[in-house]
Symmetry: C2
Subunit: 274 residues, 2 copies
Amino acid sequence: MDTRLLRTLQVLARTGSFTATATELHVVQSTVTTHIKLLERHLGARLFDRLPSGAKPTEAGERVLAAAQEVLAAEQRLLDTVQGTPAVAGDVRLGAPESMCAYRLPTIIADLALRWPGVTVHLTPVGTRRALDAVHDGGLDLALVLEDDPPSTTLDATPVGSERIDLVAAPNHPDTGRYFLLEEGCSYTDRFARDLADAHPTRFGSIEAARSCVVAGLGLSVLPRVSVADQLADGTLRCVAELPESTLFLVTDPRRTASAAVRVACQALKALSD
Amino acid sequence: MDTRLLRTLQVLARTGSFTATATELHVVQSTVTTHIKLLERHLGARLFDRLPSGAKPTEAGERVLAAAQEVLAAEQRLLDTVQGTPAVAGDVRLGAPESMCAYRLPTIIADLALRWPGVTVHLTPVGTRRALDAVHDGGLDLALVLEDDPPSTTLDATPVGSERIDLVAAPNHPDTGRYFLLEEGCSYTDRFARDLADAHPTRFGSIEAARSCVVAGLGLSVLPRVSVADQLADGTLRCVAELPESTLFLVTDPRRTASAAVRVACQALKALSD
DNA sequence: ACCCACTATCGATAACATCGATCCATGGAC
DNA sequence: GTCCATGGATCGATGTTATCGATAGTGGGT
């Protein structure tokens, strides 16, 4: 059923005139006749008495008219629904490297929660590979990945910052030949590990754990500078070499329409580069 | 807006598949695509993400979907409205000759009120001419008129009984040459008055008044037998002559659709002939 | 690397809504 | 009483559009 028919019904009930209704709706009079006749045939009841004094709703017409008001009101609410600014509320599932989770994202997420009380961010530490998979299949709304180049997938990846990577050791400790690296899935660690000839690095799932080993003089590690900045400043650690800078990409799935909550989260994360 | 689009939206949200939706709605898949695209263009928002795993409503889609449920529910109520038996309730404006008002209709209307508690009958004593005019311009829903022939108007007149008309006088009183007749507008009285050569009859608006004068031996009157049946039986009055029988017509306006209340009143009145 | 399932697109066709003109009924004026 | 004006119903023509059927393109699974 076309709601225009109901609109014609409504106007005709108000004006009582087919001609006036046609004028008001910018159609010709025969169209109004057709509309009402269609409704009457579809509903199987006469809706108006055509009297010389004007069209007057029948008993059935009065009832249909009341119901039509409801339908049109519901339709109007539907239109308003899409017009009105959607409430910025809901969950945002964000994946990020552990270094980001620990050192940069907490303040960003705290600010976000302050500005948008309805938004809840669920932060998951996750490496590049699993992050891309999760964004792809909907397990995550957003992901931050630390890579040299944009990942070659169907996903969107926009650079939002960069991360210095340092090869660090304890001061006054010679190179023991032992390495304490992060788990696989961390791109810069993996790249470094491939370049290590036959060494068998110890792998940790925690930045804190790897760093502690290095601080204790047990060996070397490859860590984002942000995670060792304090130690480099107070001399607890020293930078043996600077590895190539990695770029931080914000990854989204272009096939998925971002909710308002996800959009504000995106915006906040893109401000990382400032 | 066509509500079929909303139905398509609804089914697609449930099935998540354009093809399955098409099958369920007995259309081809491209039609479903067109429907959703029309909605999205009309509303100016993407409603579904087309993912390999199926179509999933966006945030806007979820809100539109909820609103669409309301619209479809309202439309369903509209359809139900016209299907459901209308409540037999409301006013019935009935006009009738004074004789009917006084002697026959009271029991009929009382029965009606008993059978249909929601129906209120407004009974007005009215002559043929004014009755026809009132039915014609909507002042009355129904009218009973006492005539020899169906009135030649655009109105419907169905015979529902007949009325014996008597020329009555008091027993043992000679014809004084004086007549106590009802007011103009009473057809049988008017016809009788035309046949009276030069006599100047007294006109009363009340049957009771005219009859009382006759009982008192002041002259003659022309009255429906039902109004003098008691007096004829106990000898208070005698029948001088029987005038031609008049037919009682139930008059309605065919251009007006009768409400349920009017219809039950009509049925009750047509049972007069039994 | 191939195949399969699914959706978007496009051209053709048929259906339908709208229009414009005309007919008809009614009511009022002269 | 006849005439005229008003307003709705009807009908044929026309333009739009919804639907179909076929095809291309995409991504996933084997």
